[in-house]
């Protein structure tokens, strides 16, 4: 491979790239404009709310959920650095570099918050660990971009929203709104740039990408079931949260589709029928908080909870 790629500084190439990728490059500039100091923001919020006020049982549940968020931020940091290194298009490289800067800030800010919360941070459960290491280990850029930007980032934003809606703790709620603005840009990189990577996939790579999506979605579903008690302890209605998460995901996919010239390959686009099936499965496996369940459903939930625990041990 020739290095440096001299064409990157030629006027013709630049004019073409600008036409095609100006919105991807904007992610970098907007990121710089909205950059914030985690140290300052956390200190000010702690002062404003007089520290963290939360009963011990909720603290424990919050640590369980935050462990996934914290190590998720570290994984996103590494994966976005990997993308910044490997993506060839300068504008996408800039967006990934900006994301790397954001994820570093998310990691240290959330770590500092959790130190302030106190207690020992639990280790990752087998599901979260497998999802994150699968993306870290992947050598396929499309897999990384899809799973990190479009699935995991989206899941993180949805968890942030759930924690805010349940008004678990005011310092965290305000802190997460800073995170959320950054994550929206990271999702933007996936939406804008993934179509280009999808076009380059061979049929075999496209098939593997589909399997990868099924794997990640399956593990996320079982992981949510395993951690259900922690969500409940924090007053989060997992039924509403999962439905919202699916809607967010579908919106992201609709955005992706609008940037593709032809129907995007290798991505599962849910039809109206599949969406109904998704909603029904959420109602079956994650019944609304406080709702009455018939006997057969309670038995089935008991059985699937047991499967969730066994799966976790097999993966750990």
């Amino acid at each position: 491979m020739h290095w440096p790629p001299y064409k990157l500084a030629t006027r013709d190439y630049l004019a073409q790239a600008q036409k095609k990728y100006s919105r991807v490059e904007r992610i970098y500039h907007v990121g710089q404009h909205h950059s914030w100091s985690g140290k300052d923001v956390l200190r000010d919020l702690l002062r404003k709310h007089g520290g963290i006020d939360l009963p011990p049982d909720k603290r424990a549940a919050l640590r369980e959920i935050s462990s996934t968020l914290l190590w998720g931020e570290l994984a996103a940091w590494s994966i976005s650095a990997d993308l910044a290194l490997q993506l060839k298009t300068v504008e996408a490289k800039m967006a990934a570099t900006s994301q790397t800067h954001d994820e570093a800030r998310h990691f240290y800010t959330l770590r500092d918050y959790l130190l302030e919360l106190g207690g020992e941070l639990p280790q990752l459960d087998g599901y979260s660990h497998t999802v994150l290491t699968s993306i870290l280990d992947s050598s396929c850029l499309a897999e990384q971009l899809l799973a990190l930007q479009l699935i995991v980032e989206n899941l993180a934003v949805n968890t942030f929203k759930a924690l805010q809606k349940a008004q678990v703790e005011p310092v965290l709620a305000e802190l997460l709104s800073y995170f959320e603005r950054d994550e929206a840009r990271h999702i933007g990189l996936g939406v804008l740039y993934l179509p280009e990577l999808l076009e380059q996939l061979t049929p075999l790579q496209a098939f593997r990408l589909q399997l990868f999506q099924v794997k990640v979605a399956t593990l996320i579903g079982w992981g949510a079931q395993l951690r259900r008690p922690y969500y409940e302890a924090l007053g989060i209605d997992l039924n509403a949260s999962m439905r919202r998460g699916m809607r967010l995901h579908l919106e992201v996919l609709a955005g992706l589709r609008s940037h593709c010239e032809t129907e995007p390959r290798a991505i599962f686009m849910a039809s109206a029928e599949q969406q109904r099936m998704n909603d029904l499965s959420v109602d079956l496996f994650f019944p609304r908080a406080g709702s009455h369940q018939p006997q057969w459903q309670r038995v089935m939930l008991g059985a699937t909870n047991a499967v969730a625990a066994v799966g976790e041990r097999l993966l750990a």
Binding site: D82, R181, T218, W222, R243, R244, D283
Partner: protein
Amino acid sequence: MVHKVDIFKNAWRNVVAGGLFAARGLSYGAMLVLSSTLGGLEAPRPSGENDGLEQRREPN
């Protein structure tokens, strides 16, 4: 790729993920059959109800 991949561990995880996928599908099917024969399921919540998406994230 950030760290060295353990091929065997990876294959094992894929097997477990495959089993979990099948288990989800089977239990979903069983629940559908049970709900149509035994019933008693609460009326589903209309999708989009009060899910907080009205405060959309800023397209910044």
